[in-house]
Amino acid sequence: MSVSPRALLLVGSAKKPRSTSESLGSYLMARMAENGYETESVSVHRSHRTPQSLEFLLDAVDGCDLLVLAFPLYIDSLPALLIRTLEVIAAHRTRADNHRRQRLVAIVNNGFPEAAQNEIALRICRRFATEAGFHWSGGLALGGGEAINGRPLTEAGKMARNIVSALDLTAAALAAGEPIPDRAIRLMARPIIWSRIYTWLGTRGWRRRAAKHGVESRLHDRPYQS
């Protein structure tokens, strides 16, 4: 009897109800399922609520063939709770016997237009793979993730066409036992919209959100000015 390979998505965003990280990761998981993988998704924020939920996460990591990290860029790196999770996984794996070949990929998105700003976060993920005994199968970097705003990629229209193509190529390669292809990396890194339009829309968005809370005139406040 053959057993389906398992893919585990670890979402590193705290945003509710949905995040862009979850949108990207869920789309890839759906494509992996089409390729015969049994898939599972875990949020790092939910995993740290109780010792039992953390045990559940470690069991899921031990049992997967492919671990996918999907997260937003926080200050040039991974969000703290995702780093904490990786620390726990790495410590667990130095204690546990696990000789299976398990692969790791990462998908990082940031709020600036340039995908290149994610580079160090991907290097950290790769380093984690080395230290925790995973086989690094590559990373995808997306700029301007706010434009997706947690929508399912299937509902994001033309804006997401390069992202969808990148993830389709990634899923096909991973299912064939190969690393993420260069073409997928290049497609994911293409700007979603022109940089100046992105920042103009972003600026307008911050003003509108502040106005909703009655603080538009205080956006430049310096509460800690001495």
């Binding site: 904490r84 920042t199 911050w206 603080v215 406040d221």
Partner: protein, 191 residues
């Protein structure tokens, strides 16, 4: 002059403690009033990415815990030190949990720096930044990631000068002292 050491050590490991003490001595010797904060002992919740610190309570995180006091101390300092065990090349989760919460020190609005988009400064001045990573054995890849990360943070946090080094526990005391002296020199304090 004020120096704030954000200590992201996960435990009171002997070598890290020795490096931190040497750092305090060095900074004090060149005229700094030093505050060292052991972050692992503090109740600091994780950033939830709500952006409330930009659009609801501008300049201040909506979560009322120890991170607010650290943020206030950060912007009032002349030098801030990110002191951490090198963790997959980057910062420990103990250090990062507070760094994720200081995004309120910059503006939500955008600026272009070296051809890239970043957030505009909120304050007129920001502290200089020193990164000190500690690791159990030499590791070139981790060192490169660490120093690159500090350099990227320096751009995003609008620091006027930055310096970073990784110290490993095989290094003799005089090398550690020399590294710390060199880091302080690189910050060009007083210029």
């Amino acid at each position: 002059m004020k120096a704030l050491i954000l200590d992201g050590s996960r435990d009171e490991e002997v070598f890290s403690r020795g490096v931190r003490q040497a750092l305090v001595r060095r900074l004090t010797a060149v005229g700094f009033e030093v505050e060292a904060v052991a972050l692992r002992a503090m109740e600091i919740r994780h950033c939830v990415g709500c952006f409330g610190c930009w659009v609801q309570t501008p300049g201040e995180c909506m979560i009322d815990d120890c991170a607010r006091g650290i943020t206030r101390a950060y912007i009032a300092s002349d030098v801030v030190v990110f002191f951490t065990p090198v963790t997959f090349g980057g910062y420990s989760s103990e250090l990062k949990k507070v760094l994720d919460r200081i995004i309120c020190l910059v503006s939500p609005f955008f600026d272009r720096i070296n051809g890239e988009v970043h957030h505009k400064p909120r304050y007129r001045r920001y502290p200089r930044l020193m990164g000190v990573g500690v690791q159990p054995r030499p590791d070139r890849e981790s060192e490169e990631i660490f120093t690159s990360l500090v350099a990227r943070n320096a751009i995003n946090m609008h620091v006027p000068a930055h310096a970073a080094a990784v110290i490993d526990s095989h290094q003799p005391g005089e090398i550690v002292e020399e590294t710390l002296r060199s880091l302080i020199d690189d910050l060009r304090v007083g210029t």
